[in-house]
């Protein structure tokens, strides 16, 4: 019985090039990629927080670093990853509560996530970095 269930052949299509991912699917994979990047960058962010809080000298070092245009662009990207993960996460919480599970609203809400996360990135990036 158990063997039958485990060995049951299921259709598989792992040819990524032939799959046209719909918007909620793109949102989903960006949610995963952004989460992975935020995890990988944790030590850098913790180091920045520590340096910015421990002394006036180290605060100045971080301030200089953030003043660098290349670092600004990276941080801007990081704010986007955070905002996307944040907005997409709220969408998933609503889906968990069975809000917006039909196809049409799921597509609409993923559009909203993209628009709002880009808008928030621009506003917050402008406020914090410039």
């Amino acid at each position: 019985m158990a063997d039958m269930i485990i060995k049951k052949k299921r259709p598989k299509n792992l040819d990524l090039k032939s799959i046209r991912l719909p918007l909620p699917g793109i949102l989903s994979i960006i949610h995963r990629i952004s989460g992975a990047w935020l995890f990988l960058l944790l030590p850098v962010l913790l180091w920045m927080l520590q340096s910015s809080l421990s002394s006036a000298e180290t605060f100045a070092v971080v301030k200089d670093l953030v003043g660098n245009p290349l670092v600004k662009i990276i941080l801007f990207g990081l704010i986007y990853l955070y905002m996307h993960h944040f907005c997409a996460g709220i969408r998933y919480l609503l889906l968990d509560l069975h809000k917006g599970v039909d196809l049409e609203s799921a597509r609409l809400s993923s559009k909203i996530v993209f628009v709002v996360s880009i808008a928030l990135t621009l506003i917050i990036g402008a406020k914090i970095l410039w």
């Binding site: 158990a2 944790l42 913790l46 809080l53 919480l93 917050i124």
Partner: protein, 115 residues
């Protein structure tokens, strides 16, 4: 003899709930943090340090970090389960992830209470 089918039945329900609970805590903190940054606008060392010297913000920031590390554990574990096929390597990477996150928890205590 009992034949158990190794599927279903609440495997990972605790992590599923905690992933969402920690997400809510982090989302609330994000709003609080941004509100503080926008209203106070701490651009000097003294002002920036003042934000985290406040007892409420210190507590909330620590709660945010603990939530973040647990949330990251569930997320990274899911990613490793999906993509890392060799059992030994996956186990090793899970242990490394857990060790890192426990280390970060200690580090965040140090950052907040020894500033």
């Amino acid at each position: 003899m009992v034949n158990r089918i190794v599927i279903g039945a609440h495997y990972g329900l605790k992590d599923w709930i905690l992933q969402r609970a920690t997400a809510i805590i982090m989302a609330l903190y994000t709003v609080i943090f941004l509100a503080v940054i926008i209203t106070v606008g701490p651009d000097s060392f003294v002002a920036w340090r003042g934000v985290f010297a406040n007892g409420f913000m210190k507590f909330m920031t620590f709660l945010f970090f603990v939530s973040l590390f647990y949330h990251a554990w569930v997320g990274v574990r899911d990613i490793l389960m999906d993509y890392i096929k060799p059992d030994g390597l996956r186990l090793l990477m899970m242990i490394a992830t857990a060790a890192l996150l426990v280390g970060y928890t200690g580090w965040s205590v140090q950052i907040l209470w020894r500033m």
